[in-house]
């Protein structure tokens, strides 16, 4: 068992250079892209070259690129992601203000699609090529392959425009006291459609993986042995087949956690959900370097952390890995 702390330590150490490399690559990509934030900021109207130079200087953009990089790196290590060019507020505050909305949408989606995906995958795998398998897998493939923005509009047309059950856009109605019962009810009503659309996508993805993995697992010798030992059918499935089948799903789920915070750009856009995805798109359009770097850093770090955590979860659910780590 002494291998476990060693594995954990190695994984964490490996993550550090990854994070630094991420910062370097992010910084380089953004500054190599054509376009100048100052030009974007002044917008319409006649601006003198002097005014633009002053602005450029005040943002530190007149410095050589390597100077900009090291001053950025230094701030990041101190937990300061800089001030947004566009919002004139600390990047950490802007991002933090959008995290709850994204977490709410993605968290709901994550829970729903994990449960449904696993259940559907198991049910489909139990009777391959049966009607239930075909129906479930057709729905799964549709959910996975139909573009979410299109599905989003379809859902809006049906449930919001025609039936009037759901609101069109946003996260909450105006004028409700924050935290009140009405406020949360309004949030729930706004959440239903985007969460359903996103869940359909992720459920499809997970269900298909789970089915394949489950089919493999059900063909294993240990299943035959377990059945031969006289264990009941459901006991075999739940105690032996499912735990074996679920390991690859954990990888996918782990990666999804990391991507969750980047927000669902298209879905957020269609439903006007005030999350990180929309924020990122706007930061790109406005060349808001600090905000964009902050978003990239957050996403990268989350993916790295999720990978480490996934590895650790592996250790927990797969005893074979502990011995020879």
């Amino acid at each position: 068992m002494s291998a476990v702390p060693r594995i954990v330590g190695t994984r964490l150490l490996q993550a550090v250079p990854l994070v630094v490399a991420t910062i370097v690559v992010n910084f380089a990509i953004i500054h190599l892209a054509p376009g100048d934030p100052v030009t974007m900021m002044v917008g319409e109207g006649a601006v003198s070259a002097d005014q633009m130079d002053t602005l450029r200087k005040s943002l530190g953009l007149d410095q050589p690129l390597y100077v900009q990089f090291f001053s950025y790196l230094k701030s990041v290590l101190q937990g300061d992601l800089g001030i947004s060019y566009v919002y004139h507020q600390p990047v950490t505050e802007i991002i933090a203000s959008r995290i709850p909305a994204t977490l709410l949408l993605m968290g709901t989606t994550y829970v729903i699609s994990t449960i449904l995906g696993i259940v559907f995958g198991i049910v489909a795998a139990l009777r391959p090529s049966s009607a239930q398998d075909r129906i479930l897998m057709t729905v799964a493939i549709l959910g996975y392959s139909v573009p979410t923005f299109w599905l989003g509009f379809l859902a809006l047309m049906v449930f919001a425009v025609e039936l009037g059950w759901a609101p069109i856009s946003g996260m909450v109605d105006s004028g409700l006291a924050a935290g009140s019962w009405e406020y949360w009810l309004s949030v729930l009503r706004h959440l239903a459609l985007p969460a359903a659309v996103l869940s359909l996508f992720y459920t499809g993805l997970i269900a298909r993986l789970m089915r394949t993995s489950m089919l493999n697992s059900l063909r294993g010798d240990f299943i035959v042995t377990a059945r031969a030992m006289g264990l009941s059918r459901w006991r075999v499935i739940l105690r032996h087949a499912v735990p074996n089948a679920i390991t690859p799903i954990v990888t996918v789920l782990g990666l999804q956690v990391g991507l969750m915070l980047s927000g669902a750009v298209l879905t957020e856009t269609v439903f006007g959900w005030p999350g990180l995805g929309v924020l990122t798109v706007q930061a790109v359009a406005q060349r808001d370097y600090p905000l964009l770097l902050g978003m990239f850093l957050l996403t990268s770090v989350m993916v790295i952390i999720a990978n480490v955590v996934t590895d650790l979860v592996y250790l927990a659910i797969n005893p074979r890995l502990r011995g020879n780590g």
């Binding site: 892209a33 054509p34 376009g35 100048d36 934030p37 030009t39 974007m40 900021m41 002044v42 917008g43 319409e44 109207g45 006649a46 601006v47 003198s48 070259a49 005014q51 633009m52 566009v86 919002y87 004139h88 507020q89 203000s97 959008r98 909305a101 509009f153 809006l156 047309m157 919001a160 425009v161 009037g164 609101p167 069109i168 856009s169 946003g170 996260m171 909450v172 105006s174 004028g175 856009t269 269609v270 439903f271 006007g272 959900w273 005030p274 999350g275 929309v278 924020l279 798109v281 706007q282 359009a285 406005q286 060349r287």
Partner: protein, 530 residues
């Protein structure tokens, strides 16, 4: 020095600057305005700040409700009292006096005085409003010795001066909050805590919506109790929001032509180019005259004959617009039907290119060129797709060069690294607004400048003459001559008169009809009781 009373001035301003063929007035019905109610506005992005001098369209529509301006305007750019209850202009056109509304207060209780006006025009607008220096460089001095009256002395008579006193170009900001600070970084520009307009901040759910409520202490009491701005970045989602009544009003910046086509025929919704009676744009596709073959007038004229403007206008606008003739929108008072443009004639274009020394080569093409376009701006993208086809039809090997916003601006205005590039030029409300695009002095590496590097001294002289002249009929004659010169030089092609359309539900009345796309005070706006 004799001063005209403001009634007289209004007539004079009307005579000197604006005259229309038909009467186009307010967008509201004749019914009595109703007090109370809420207006929900769909805008395409969250305001990034509440800085009163911001150039962000989505900030401007909000801060116009939060800060006063001296005057407000109707669809004919006729001035109406706002923070200034009366005004006078001297006969020589060089002195403007404004009497401020008595008892006007900022939201922290401090009075709004002529010192705030002086401070705004001296310390804030020229430095931080991008068009500030160009618009108000003509001011020689401002006298604020009487707190209730502000007096502007101009270096020379300047006919457009009054029309610039709107909340977009000239918001009045509190001196005691902004003095000595950078307004972009000032805490008040983030919170909007101390304001003085008809509305004040009620709640701001980041990323979702921003709600304003009536400012009970305002110098101008609005009809509405509240205004909510909803941030909806997707055009189709905005359209659905209007269809279901989740929002009541989509300002022009939130209304692409494609939405127009989809909203047509809905009896609950009105579609109108409000305010654009006077301020409409022209789609302007300019040549880079610094380089061959576009330095050759004959080539530019040939290309002007090669483009099917009628087809571009109809296809791009879903048949809501017509082809333009020259740099001014045909709704402008400065435009005239006698102006002679270029007929669509590909054969003639081909012959002219032959004569200019660009015959077809073995591969069937005369020369290659790129057409800058922005895929995210539907008008540019669709128009340029057709332009490329038209160019290829006369043997020019044209191809689209799609660029997104930032590189597009850099390529067009800063680096001058393009063959042709598109812009939308707002010029109609005063033809003097053509100066930044067509005057020699406007050739410089800055956004919204003379990116074509077009320079004709005769045109410059006419610009100077037009701005100094006070008589509207004489001004028009000057501008017609000027336009024909520009058209003959063909620094650009002008395929389409481009209006900004507003969409709103039928119970909304009194939308700001000024030429600034709804980025104006909502104090007169009202909604029918439900």
């Amino acid at each position: 020095m004799a001063l005209l009373e403001h009634r007289g001035l209004r007539a004079a301003l009307l005579a000197t600057t604006i005259l229309f063929g038909g009467a186009v007035g307010f967008a509201h019905a004749a019914d009595e305005p109703v007090k109370g109610g809420e207006l929900k506005v769909g805008i395409f992005a969250e305001p990034t700040t509440l800085m009163p001098l911001s150039q962000d369209i989505n900030v401007q529509i909000v801060v116009a409700q939060l800060y006063p301006s001296l005057l407000k305007f109707d669809g004919k750019i006729e001035p109406h009292p706002y923070l200034a209850k009366a005004w006078r202009v001297s006969e020589d056109g060089k002195t403007y006096e404004f009497d401020l509304v008595e008892g006007a207060k900022w939201s922290d209780g401090k009075p709004i005085t002529s010192a705030d006006v002086k401070f705004s025009f001296e310390q804030m607008i020229p430095q931080y409003q991008p068009a500030g220096k160009a618009n108000f460089g003509v001011i020689e001095s401002i006298d604020a010795s009487n707190p209730a009256t502000v007096v502007f002395k101009l270096k020379r008579a300047y006919a457009p001066f009054l029309s610039l006193m709107n909340s977009l170009y000239a918001p009045i900001v509190p001196q005691h909050v902004y003095a000595g600070t950078d307004p972009m970084k000032n805490e008040n520009s983030l919170s909007g805590a101390i304001t003085g307009g008809p509305f004040k901040i009620k709640e701001w759910i980041k990323g979702d919506h921003l709600t304003l409520e009536r400012n009970p202490d305002a110098f101008a009491s609005p009809n509405l109790d509240a205004v909510t701005f909803r941030f909806i970045s997707d055009a189709s989602a905005r359209m659905l929001a209007l269809k279901t009544g989740a929002v009541d009003y989509l300002p022009p910046s939130a209304m692409p032509y494609s939405s127009l086509a989809m909203l047509e025929g809905d009896s609950n919704i009105k579609l109108e180019p409000i305010g654009d009676e006077a301020a409409a744009k022209v789609l302007t596709i300019g040549f880079n005259m610094r380089k061959a073959p576009f330095d050759n007038a004959k080539v530019r004229q040939a290309i002007s004959h090669a483009i099917n403007n009628d087809f571009v206008a109809a296809a791009v606008s879903f048949k809501h617009e017509t082809a333009a003739v020259g740099p001014l929108n045909s709704n402008s008072w400065g435009w005239d039907s006698s102006l002679k443009g270029y007929k669509f004639d590909p054969d003639l274009a081909g012959r002219m290119l032959d004569e200019a020394g660009y015959p077809k080569k073995a591969d069937g093409f005369r020369f290659a060129m790129t057409v800058n376009t922005r895929p995210s701006v539907a008008v540019f993208q669709k128009a340029n797709e057709i332009v490329v086809q038209n160019l290829r039809a006369v043997g020019i090997d044209a191809s689209l060069r799609p660029l997104e916003s930032a590189p597009y601006t850099a390529s067009t205005y800063i680096d001058a690294d393009f063959d042709v590039s598109s812009t939308a030029w707002i010029s109609a409300f005063d033809p003097n607004n053509l100066v930044p695009l067509y005057a020699c002095e406007s050739i410089r590496p800055a956004p919204y400048s003379n990116f074509m590097a077009y320079c004709n001294k005769e045109v410059d002289e006419l610009f100077a003459k037009g701005a100094a002249e006070q008589d509207q009929a004489k001004r028009k004659a000057i501008y017609v001559e000027l336009q024909q010169k520009i058209i003959d030089d063909a620094p650009a092609i002008w395929p389409m008169n481009w209006s900004d359309w507003s969409a709103y539900r039928v119970y909304v009345h009194g939308l700001p009809a000024g030429p600034w796309d709804g980025r104006d005070s909502f104090s007169d706006l009202w909604v029918e009781a439900k």
